[in-house]
């Protein structure tokens, strides 16, 4: 018999036992449903984590600090045994030189600490306190208006937080783009409490307005300037101060394409540094998602395993019911192979049906995405259930294969049936 005819006949015999076929497929569909949802939730979770990560840091950058003593002890140490006190927690240019030599390091930016006295829109406008920071890495930040090339603040530009718009007299975020903002930068005074004598005014163009978002874990409303401008302010403020050339930390950007983990390892090996990367956090989060995903998928596989016995049982009954048909086919010259195939394909149909029903139901559950997002108060548009058509196709295909394998024993029984016995009517 031709495969096509066998498949058609198999499908037809299933239609003759609709209730039984449907119930058997439903058993499989429970498994297919669970597996599909688990995979979708895993993919969605990973995508969500990814967006969390990119909004909170740059995976291509490492942050380097001086390694603190492992043992934090309350006991006083003997005088003179504490290591270089001046160096405690501070990095300098020799460290930069050292790390720069490591393969895969593209750029090193010290963490400059800077401050401003006030910001103003110039002229007679009011002056306001403001925090300021330097955007060193290429972390994507959610913007209310404007855009940042390569996620970096342009030189001479500034990013202002949404919260500053009102006091600065902007109607909305778009109104602020391209406007100028003047920062008043003072040199620290030598005597506490005395006003500094020296100060400069610097004017920047507003390049973008950033906003608070649930995907940004620690949002700080502050002005952000480019590394170059930050460095200039730092140089001005620390020019004749002892802390000039001393940094709390370094931001190391790894060359595109280089292995971040390897560079991280190399910096740690070069001695005395503590290096943390977003990759670390990302891996921990992914691992967690994977465990949950595999757990759920495992339950789905168990359901599929249970349904396999359902298929075997149903097919055995089907063989018993159709003894005469099998006998007739054999009398008409059907080969054992043909009969076996007929019943295996019948099982395959059941697998196909179950897989399609289960996947279909899971896709319907995907309609709950907006509700889930709303309930968990996630960023608008986030989809925690992400379906991949290819995965579904592979899942259904494997269910067909599994069902065909489950149909093996009943099919063998049918193939072995003695036609004379089968056709006996008494």
């Amino acid at each position: 018999m031709k495969i096509r005819d066998t498949v058609r006949r198999a499908g037809r015999s299933l239609r003759q036992a609709k209730a039984r076929t449907l119930l058997t497929s439903l058993a499989i569909s429970v498994g297919a449903f669970t597996v599909t949802l688990a995979l979708a939730a895993g993919a969605g979770g990973q995508a969500y984590t990814d967006s969390l990560i990119t909004n909170n840091g740059d995976a291509q950058s490492l942050s380097v600090h001086i390694k603190e003593d492992d043992e934090v002890s309350d006991k006083p140490k003997e005088y003179g045994t504490t290591s270089d006190a001046a160096r405690q927690g501070q990095l300098d240019d020799t460290d930069i030189e050292k790390i720069k030599k490591i393969d895969g390091v593209a750029e090193i930016t010290p963490t400059y600490s800077i401050s401003i006295a006030y910001m103003t829109r110039g002229g007679d406008a009011k002056k306001y306190d403001a925090s300021i920071g330097i955007k060193v890495d290429r972390t994507a930040i959610p913007l209310a208006a404007g855009s940042l090339m390569d996620n970096q603040v342009p030189v001479g530009g500034v990013v202002i937080p949404e919260a500053y718009l009102g006091v600065l007299g902007f109607k909305n975020a778009f109104d602020a783009i391209g406007q100028s903002l003047t920062l008043h930068i003072e040199k620290p005074s030598d005597i506490v409490g005395r006003k500094s004598s020296e100060a400069i005014d610097k004017t920047y163009t507003i390049a973008a307005v950033d906003k608070e978002s649930s995907t940004v874990l620690r949002y700080q409303a502050e002005l952000k300037v480019s590394t170059n401008d930050g460095k200039m302010i730092y140089e001005y403020q620390t020019a004749d101060q002892p802390e000039n050339g001393q940094y709390n930390g370094l931001n190391v950007r790894v060359t595109d394409g280089a292995d971040v983990a390897a560079v991280q390892e190399a910096i740690i090996k070069s001695g005395g540094y503590e290096v943390s990367s977003l990759k670390d956090i990302q891996e921990v989060l992914f691992q967690f998602i994977n465990v949950v995903q595999y757990g759920a998928a495992g339950f789905g596989l168990l359901a599929i395993l249970a349904s396999v016995f359902g298929i075997i049982n149903t097919q055995y009954i089907s063989v018993l019911e159709r003894t005469q048909q099998i006998g007739l086919m054999k009398a008409l010259g059907a080969r054992r192979k043909d009969i076996g195939r007929l019943f295996r394909y019948e099982a395959g149909w059941v697998g196909f049906l179950g897989g399609t029903i289960g996947t279909g139901l899971a896709l319907l559950a995907g309609l709950l995405n907006p509700w889930i997002t709303q309930t968990l108060v996630l960023e608008k548009g986030t989809e925690l259930l992400k379906f991949n058509p290819l995965t579904s196709v592979i899942l259904i295909a494997s269910l067909i294969v599994i069902a065909i394998m489950a149909g093996y024993f009943p099919a063998r029984k049918a193939a072995k049936l003695d036609p004379i016995e089968a056709l006996r009517t008494e």
């Binding site: 006949r9 003759q16 006998g327 009398a331 008409l332 010259g333 036609p419 056709l423 009517t425």
Partner: protein
Amino acid sequence: MIEVKHITKTYGKKQNAFIALDDTTFTIPDGASVAILGKSGSGKSTLMHAMSGLDRPETGEVVIGGQNILKLKTKQIDEFRSQQMSFIFQSFFVQANESCYDNVSLPLEIANIPISKRRQKINDALTAVELLDKKASRARDLSGGQKQRLAVARAIVNDPRILFADEPTGNLDSVTGEVIEDLLFGYNKSRGVTLIIVTHDSDLAQKCDIQIHIKDGKVEKIESRKELHS
């Protein structure tokens, strides 16, 4: 020509052994209509199974067209059956849930006839038994006589050389039984197909060219109509 030579078939073992066929020998010429007569348990069904290769006797030969089919491998016998033989049974064995068309299509599918050639053959066979108008109906909706006509259509659709009929009228009243008999003998005469009817109905047997009487697994007597000898 079908030559049955010294076939013996035993069921069971040792003390419980039951001899179904005991050194049975006879010859059937091509195109003849043959009745295998006997009471139930006489071995006539076993004989049909042996002649069609469904069963394998311990000894003897069944030579059809010069070939001993008992020496063939299972696969080859299956193919031989699908090409050259077909069956009609007392209980019809039509597939109740399938359409008449699909019922008749089954032997063609088994014999690997390409789809393009099937339609014509199926329509011809259904026309021959006057069931063409029931083509799309399910077999379960047919009457007993119609079901057996459908079985006849299924038996003749692939132009067999040998047609086995096991009590073809056993489940039918005399009027519908006669319709089936006319169909079978008509086909036997018009196509020169060898028709072998297994029956205990002597009236039906009378209509055949040759009557082979079986008793306790042995050929009791063979009667032939005069015109065959001439």
